[in-house]
C-alpha cells in the first residue's frame, strides 16, 4: 500500500465538529473566481457561503472582460484545510463559474485594497493626520477647513494600520473596496 503514498484510515474528526476551531488550524485563503457575468451569479456565490456556513472576510466583484462578459470575484475566506477544499469544489460546480483559483496556494500573489477615510479636526490633530497620510502615501482627494478625505491603496493590513492611527485624530467615516488580487509572474 505504501507504494501508492496514500495514508491509511479515515479522519479522526466528526461532521458535527467539522468546523471546530479548536480541532484544526484555521487558514485564510484568497480565491479568484472567474464567472459568466449573468444576473444572479453573485447571489449564487454568496448564497453558497451563507447556505453552507462558510466565512467571507472580504468579497469584491467587477466585470473584467466586457466583450466576453466575464467577471472576477475575489473572495478572502477562512476555514480548516478541508473546508477550504470544499469551498473550492462547491464554487467549481456552480454552472456559470468558469474557473476557481486559490491564490494562496497557487504560487505567490499580490493583494491590494482601496480605502477612503474622512478625518475631521483642526489644529495639531489635523496636521498630524496629514503628516501620517504622507508617510502612508495616502492622497488627499477632498479637503475643507476642518476635514480631509484620504484615499489609499495597499494591503488590508496597511489599511488597518492607517485606520487605527486616524481614529484618535478624528476619523469619522471610512469606505473600503475589499481585496483585489493577482498572481505574480507572467502567467
Amino acid at each position: 500500500m505504501s507504494a501508492l503514498h496514500i495514508k491509511k484510515g479515515s479522519t479522526s474528526h466528526s461532521a458535527y465538529e467539522l468546523r471546530d476551531p479548536n480541532g484544526e488550524i484555521i487558514e485564510k485563503h484568497t480565491l479568484a473566481v472567474l464567472v459568466e457575468n449573468e444576473p444572479g451569479v453573485l447571489a449564487r456565490v454568496i448564497g453558497l457561503f451563507s447556505g453552507r456556513g462558510y466565512n467571507i472576510e472580504s468579497l469584491t466583484v467587477a466585470e473584467v472582460d466586457h466583450l466576453g462578459h466575464r467577471s472576477r470575484i475575489t473572495i478572502v475566506t477562512t476555514g480548516t484545510p478541508n473546508v477550504i477544499e470544499q469551498i473550492k469544489a462547491q464554487l467549481g460546480r456552480i454552472v456559470p463559474v468558469h474557473e476557481v483559483h486559490d491564490l494562496t496556494v497557487e504560487g505567490q500573489s499580490v493583494e491590494r485594497e482601496l480605502a477612503m477615510f474622512k478625518v475631521a479636526g483642526t489644529g495639531d490633530k489635523r496636521i498630524e493626520a496629514l503628516r501620517l497620510a504622507e508617510i502612508f502615501r495616502a492622497n488627499v482627494v477632498d479637503s475643507t477647513l476642518e476635514s480631509f478625505v484620504f484615499e489609499m491603496t495597499g494591503t488590508s493590513e496597511k489599511i488597518d494600520a492607517f485606520a487605527e492611527l486616524m481614529r484618535p485624530l478624528g476619523l469619522i467615516e471610512q469606505a473600503r473596496t475589499g481585496v483585489a488580487a493577482l498572481s505574480r509572474g507572467p502567467k
Binding site: 500500500m1 507504494a3 501508492l4 496514500i6 495514508k7 491509511k8 484510515g9 479515515s10 479522519t11 479522526s12 474528526h13 466528526s14 461532521a15 458535527y16 467539522l18 459568466e36 444576473p39 444572479g40 447571489a43 449564487r44 448564497g47 447556505g51 478541508n82 477544499e85 470544499q86 469544489a89 462547491q90 467549481g92 460546480r93 456552480i94 454552472v95 456559470p96 468558469h98
Partner: protein
C-alpha cells in the same frame, strides 16, 4: 433549424426537439400561453396533476424509472412555491428534471404583481441552476442549455422562469444542434494513474467491500452492467445505499443488502471491518456513516464520483477519483484485467460475512392474529417477485422495511425519497412511473400518514386510467417518529399518531377506484392478489401492528458495530449526546 415563433410555441418545439413526450403540470394565469400552445398540438402529452408538488415528484419518478429527463410546468407565485419541495427533493437525490414556471410579465417584475414571487431567488438554492428568460430570442437556447445542465455531470433539477410577455412575443427559434455549446462540461473520464492505483488496491485487499449508491443508477444502465461484471470478476461483496438498490441484483450471491441506519447487520459489519472500501457513486451520507470518528476505522477508502465536491466532504478518502461511474468502471475493468485479474484469497472474509449473515438480522416475531408490516412485505415480495414491477415509497418505517424486504434485480425499478425524506413523494411518484410504463405493475408502498400528504392525486390516477396500487401499511402512527420517541424521548408519544383517519375503502370508492382492507394475516395473500389483478387504481388499507419497530438500527451517534438488532437491545441505547442528531 431557425424560424420565427412565439415564446409559448418555442417551449413546445424545444421539448419535442429534446425528445420529450410527456410533461406534468398545473395551469394558471402566468402560463396560459404555453397551455394554449399545448392545446394546439398532439406530440406532447400533458398530465394534469392536482397539486404542483405532485407534478415535480411525478416528473422525478418518470425520470428515475426511464433514465430520461422529467419535465413539469407550473404557474407563477403559488404554483412555483408549491414546486419547491419537489425541486429540493430532486436536488438531494440528483434527479434530472426541467421545470418551467410562469412569471408576471417583465415590465411588472418587482411591483408585487398578482401571483408574483421571486421564483429565481426562492429556487436558487434548490436547483442545480435556474434562468429567468427576459427575451424570447434567448428562450430556445436557454431551454436546450437547461436540458444539458440537468443531465450533465451530477444530474439535478433546473428551472426556467417564463414571464408572460416573453411567452406571447415572437422570436427566433434555434434547435438543439444550432444552440451555442455550453462551457459546462463536467469531466467523465478519470486519470489513468488513479485507475491503476485502484486496481493495485483491489489486488492487495483481504477484506474488500463495494459500497455503491445512486450514482450508479444515474450513470445509466451501462454502469450497472459494468458493476455486475466487476463484482463477479473480483468476487468482492457488495452493499448499497437506499438510492442505489437494483444496480446489483438482490439475488446475486455477493449481495449484502442495504447498509446504513436501518441497513443489514452483515452490510454494516462488513463496512466496519473491511480493509478496502470502494465507494462507487455514494456520498457518505450521515444515514450511512453513523459516528464519523468510528466509521470503518481500519480501511483504505477509494471513492468514485462525478461531483468533485462529494469527495472528501465528510470522510477523507485515500483515493478520490473524479469521473462518470460507467467510464471509470470500464477503465478499471480493463486495467485490472490487463494487470492479470489478480485478487487475494478472501475466503476468510467471506466466511466472516457468512457468520454475520447467520445472525439473521431481519428476523422478527410473527403473529397469527395481527399482520406484521414485515410479513406484509414478505408476502408481497413472494407474490410479485419476477413480475414487471416498479416500486415507489413514502417516507417512514414502511420505506425502510420495503428496502429491507423487497429485492430489486434491475436499476430504475425503485423510486424513493432518500436525501430529503419527503413524505408525500410516493403516490405522485407512482403516477409518474405508471405514465412512463403503462403496462407494468406500479406499487407505492406507503404509510398512512405520508399517503395523506398527496392523496389528492387519486383524481389524477382516475382521470388518466393509471392503475397504480397504493399499498398502505397502516399502523395508525407516524411510525418512524413514534419509534424515535420510544427510543429517545422516554416513550412520550407527542403528536405521533394518525387520528381521524379516513375510511380508505370508502375514500377509494368516492374517487371511483377500488378499496381493499385487510387485517387478518390469513387473508393477506388473497387480498394482495386481488390488488394486483385489479385493472385500475387500488387503495389497499393494510392494517398492521401499530407498535412494531424497525430494526436493525444504528442509533444516531453510534458506530456501525453498535447496531440494535431488536427490542431487547434498545434499553438506554441512545445517549443524550446522540439525541441532538437527527
Amino acid at each position: 433549424m431557425t424560424r420565427q415563433m412565439t415564446g409559448a410555441d418555442m417551449v413546445v418545439q424545444a421539448l419535442k426537439d429534446q425528445g420529450v413526450d410527456t410533461i406534468f403540470g398545473y395551469p394558471g394565469g402566468a402560463v396560459l400561453p404555453v397551455y394554449d400552445a399545448i392545446f394546439q398540438q398532439n406530440d406532447i402529452k400533458h398530465i394534469l396533476v392536482r397539486h404542483e408538488q405532485a407534478a415535480i415528484h411525478a416528473a422525478e419518478a418518470y425520470a428515475r424509472s426511464t433514465g430520461k429527463v422529467g419535465v413539469a410546468l407550473v404557474t407563477s407565485g403559488p404554483g412555483a412555491t408549491n414546486a419547491v419541495t419537489g425541486l429540493t427533493d430532486a436536488l438531494l437525490d440528483s434527479i434530472p428534471i426541467v421545470v418551467f414556471s410562469g412569471q408576471v410579465p417583465t415590465f411588472m417584475i418587482g411591483t408585487d404583481g398578482f401571483q408574483e414571487a421571486d421564483t429565481i431567488g426562492i429556487t436558487r438554492p434548490c436547483t442545480k441552476h435556474n434562468w429567468l428568460v427576459k427575451d424570447t430570442n434567448a428562450l430556445a437556447e436557454t431551454i436546450h442549455q437547461a436540458f444539458h445542465v440537468a443531465t450533465s455531470g451530477r444530474p439535478g433539477p433546473v428551472l426556467i422562469d417564463l414571464p408572460k410577455d416573453v411567452q406571447f412575443a415572437d422570436g427566433t427559434y434555434v434547435g438543439p444542434q444550432k444552440a451555442r455549446k455550453s462551457h459546462y462540461q463536467p469531466k467523465l473520464k478519470a486519470d489513468i494513474e488513479q485507475i491503476n492505483d485502484l486496481a493495485a488496491l483491489i489486488e492487495k485487499a483481504e477484506r474488500p467491500v463495494f459500497y455503491t449508491g445512486g450514482g450508479v443508477i444515474n450513470s445509466g444502465p451501462a454502469a450497472s452492467q459494468l458493476l455486475r461484471e466487476l463484482v463477479e470478476a473480483t468476487g468482492f461483496p457488495i452493499t448499497s445505499t437506499l438510492m442505489g438498490l437494483g444496480a446489483y441484483p438482490a439475488s446475486g450471491d455477493k449481495w449484502l443488502g442495504m447498509l446504513g441506519m436501518h441497513g443489514l447487520y452483515e452490510a454494516n459489519m462488513a463496512m466496519h471491518g473491511c480493509d478496502l472500501m470502494i465507494n462507487i457513486g455514494a456520498r457518505f451520507d450521515d444515514r450511512i456513516t453513523g459516528r464519523l470518528d468510528a466509521f470503518s476505522p481500519g480501511s483504505i477508502k477509494a471513492h468514485i464520483d462525478i461531483d468533485p465536491s462529494s469527495l472528501n466532504k465528510v470522510i477523507q478518502v485515500d483515493l478520490p477519483i473524479v469521473g462518470d461511474i460507467a467510464h471509470v468502471l470500464e477503465d478499471l475493468l480493463k486495467v485490472w484485467k490487463s494487470r492479470g485479474r489478480k485478487t487475494k484469497d478472501i475466503s476468510a472474509w467471506t466466511k466472516q460475512i457468512a457468520d454475520w449473515r447467520a445472525v439473521r438480522c431481519l428476523d422478527y416475531k410473527n403473529s397469527e392474529t395481527v399482520i406484521k408490516p414485515q410479513y406484509a412485505l414478505q408476502r408481497f415480495e413472494e407474490l410479485t417477485k419476477g413480475m414487471d414491477r416498479y416500486i415507489t415509497t413514502e417516507v417512514g418505517q414502511h420505506q425502510m422495511w420495503a428496502a429491507q424486504f423487497l429485492g430489486f434485480e434491475d436499476p430504475n425499478r425503485w423510486m424513493t425519497s432518500g436525501g430529503l425524506g419527503t413524505m408525500g413523494y410516493g403516490f405522485p411518484a407512482s403516477i409518474g412511473v405508471q405514465v412512463a410504463h403503462p403496462d407494468s405493475l406500479v406499487v407505492n408502498v406507503a404509510g398512512e400518514a405520508s399517503w395523506l400528504m398527496n392523496m389528492q392525486e387519486m383524481g389524477t390516477a382516475i382521470q388518466y386510467n393509471l392503475p397504480v396500487k397504493q399499498f398502505i401499511l397502516n399502523n395508525e402512527r407516524l411510525g418512524m417518529v413514534r419509534q424515535w420517541q420510544q427510543l429517545l424521548h422516554g416513550e412520550r408519544y407527542s403528536n405521533s399518531w394518525s387520528d381521524a383517519l379516513p375510511d380508505f375503502v370508502k375514500l377509494a370508492e368516492a374517487f371511483g377506484a377500488k378499496g381493499i382492507q385487510c387485517s387478518d394475516p390469513k387473508d393477506l395473500d388473497d387480498a394482495i392478489m386481488e390488488m394486483i389483478n385489479y385493472d385500475g387504481p387500488v387503495i389497499f388499507d393494510c392494517l398492521v401492528e401499530k407498535h412494531e419497530n424497525c430494526f436493525p438500527m444504528i442509533p444516531s451517534g453510534k458506530p456501525h458495530n453498535e447496531m440494535l438488532l431488536g427490542d431487547a437491545s434498545t434499553e438506554d441505547a441512545i445517549k443524550s449526546d446522540g439525541a441532538v442528531l437527527v
